[in-house]
């Protein structure tokens, strides 16, 4: 494994993925490769398969991979449980973060952080050490400590939920983060906070996939690559200019592309 690292080994390599849920095929041959330090944006109409792509990377049990491979740091992860993927450094920021009544956000964050740390052979944090760490990370997303004493996402506003996702990302320090429409439903201030949080977490070692509909997130975080998805496939890949074109011409323009291809 170490020998391979000498070259430019991709962090995440998705090859010709076909995936379905409830017998409905959604992904029809997706390829994407992410190198350390890269930020990718995936855009496309609702229902084109963006969220499915994020879910199969994270290992959602409702989606089945029928063909193709997902390789994370040289290892096929197709048969790994979601928690094993998470511990090894894959993070999914949910489009609709789930509410879990009765389970304290703080406890949840601590258990999750320690699961990841244990995997990394780092010392697990006790409640006090964790408190110090989480206070530092709360700064990133401008959240109040009081958030932590509430149940996970329960009664959070849309913006608070998304900030909680970024807080989790900051604590888990993933190598690949897929952020599924993290910008949707945010007002301008919240968007700036979330975007600046993401930028602070992004570094030369990790890779980020931003799934989004809007240029405004990409104004804040400049992607290295932009992919346009339609009908379960990536139909065009370009640099950040592609997103601007898309903004200008709308998805109808990509429908044209889809037919041409």
């Amino acid at each position: 494994m170490q020998e391979k690292m000498t070259g430019k080994e991709p962090l995440l390599e998705i090859k010709n993925i076909f995936a379905s849920t409830e017998d409905l095929t959604i992904l029809k041959g997706v390829d994407i490769t992410i190198q350390p330090g890269e930020i990718h944006a995936i855009m496309g109409r609702n229902g084109c398969g963006k969220s499915t792509l994020s879910k199969i990377i994270a290992g959602h049990p409702a989606y089945k991979i029928n063909q193709g491979s997902i390789t994370f740091k040289g290892k096929n992860i197709k048969s790994l449980e979601p928690e094993e993927r998470a511990k090894s450094g894959i993070f999914l920021g949910f489009q609709y973060p789930i509410e879990i009544p009765g389970v304290s956000n703080l406890e949840f964050l601590r258990v999750a952080t320690n699961a990841r740390r244990k995997f990394l052979k780092q010392q697990e944090l006790d409640t006090f050490e964790f408190e110090d760490l989480v206070k530092e990370k709360l700064e990133l997303v401008k959240m109040d400590y009081a958030f932590l004493n509430r149940s996970i996402n329960q009664g959070f506003s849309g913006g608070e939920k998304k900030r909680n996702e970024i807080l989790q990302m900051a604590l888990l320090n993933p190598e690949i983060a897929i952020l599924d429409e993290t910008d949707s439903g945010l007002d301008i201030d919240a968007l700036r906070i979330v975007a600046s949080g993401i930028k602070k977490i992004a570094n030369k070692e990790n890779g980020i996939i931003l799934i989004t509909h809007y240029q405004r997130l990409l104004d804040e975080i400049k992607p290295d690559f932009v992919h346009v998805m339609a009908n379960g496939q990536i139909i065009k890949t370009g640099d950040c200019k592609l997103a601007l074109e898309l903004e200008k011409n709308g998805y109808e323009w990509t429908d044209q592309l889809s037919q041409d291809s």
Binding site: E83, F94, I100
Partner: protein
Amino acid sequence: MINENLVSNVVTEPYKYGFVTDIETEKISKGLNEEIIRLISRKKDEPEYLLNFRLKAFKKWQKMEEPNWADLGYKKIDYQDIIYYSAPKQKEKKSSLDEVDPKLLETFDKLGIPLTEQKRLTNVAVDAVFDSVSIATTYKEQLAEHGVIFCSISEAVKEHSALIEKYLGSVVPASDNYFAALNSAVFSDGSFVYIPKGVECPMDLSSYFRINSGDSGQFERTLIIAEESSTVSYLEGCTAPMFDTNTLHAAVVELIALDNASIKYSTVQNWYAGNENGVGGIFNFVTKRGKCLGKKSKISWSQVETGSAITWKYPSCILLGEESIGEFYSVALTNNLQQADTGTKMIHIGAKTKSTIVSKGISAGKSSNSYRGLVKMGSKATGSRNYSQCDSMLIGDQASANTFPYIQSQQPNSEVEHEASTCRISEDQLFYLQSRGIEFEEAVSMMVSGFCRDVFNQLPMEFAAEADKLLALKLEGSVG
């Protein structure tokens, strides 16, 4: 559909209390009639009034019908096919623990309730009941120094007859219901607690009920009396071996709290629940009731019900004394084919009485779990208040949960509040936790303990931790 592979990989922990103690027992013949009752009474060398109490109860029972309103499904019980008295053979009088059969001590050791002086639990006095009899009570002498009486009910009949005569059946009369009548006729042992005026019981008291025989029922009776300004915390635990027949457990518990007295009664019930196909398990038909007789008295029930094939119990409070307080905190978990119908009755009679009900039902597998509760505001209960919260959690898609709140108010100046909710552990919730690196089982158990937190907070420390573990254990492999 949820993580099928993972679920099938989960090792289901067997019921670890399912062993049988091989011990010679003295059993009377099967069946129930006046002769049997006289025989039980004779064996216990009881005074006349108690025999009469039994016989009267038996006559009433014969005229009563087995209740079916709880809509529980089970094969009709043949009351003539049950042994009503079963006791391990040992010397008549045990002057010390040394004379208790080592096999019995070993049994309780194995259950985590060591009784011998060297090993006994440090902060809890234990009355250990094996089938029909109490075999040992620890810390009796130390408690006696404070005037606290803690002994088996059989011993209390002999030593503290006046208290028994005065209070036995004063909260749950023999005619109260079918199973209470049955118990009153044939009860064999149980625990007795008396806390004198002004005494705060120096340690928790606890009874541990163990059913060992497969063909005998257990009919114990507990009576707790807290005199003026006294307090006591009482814990109850129960286990039974695994048999493929059903064993009947019909207990009666009576609590009496006088002025300013407070009784906290906590139960962790883990009777054998039967196997995953619903074969075997205990029928747990229990009547528990407390009477807040005195002003500002308080009775608090907390229970964690995880075992038994069928649970049918409603620990209740009769709030007679002015400003008295009744509480009921319950977690009932059912899995496989278990059935539970449990809840409480809060009967507000005195003025300015208060009651709180917090019930959490968790149903997994194909089980059914109902909350059934009555809040009654009598005509003199002016300024009284009740708050009820009943939440159900469903795990999987084959379990069922019901809530039946009954509210009767004859007093316009009283308040009754009821909140209810039902939730389901969803695939998405599990995935959310898993996608943060949390193992599947830990995720389930986090959600379940989160759901039960309000109740666990009410349990004595050592019980709360045990309850948390017990729930996790019971749920293993249940999500699918």
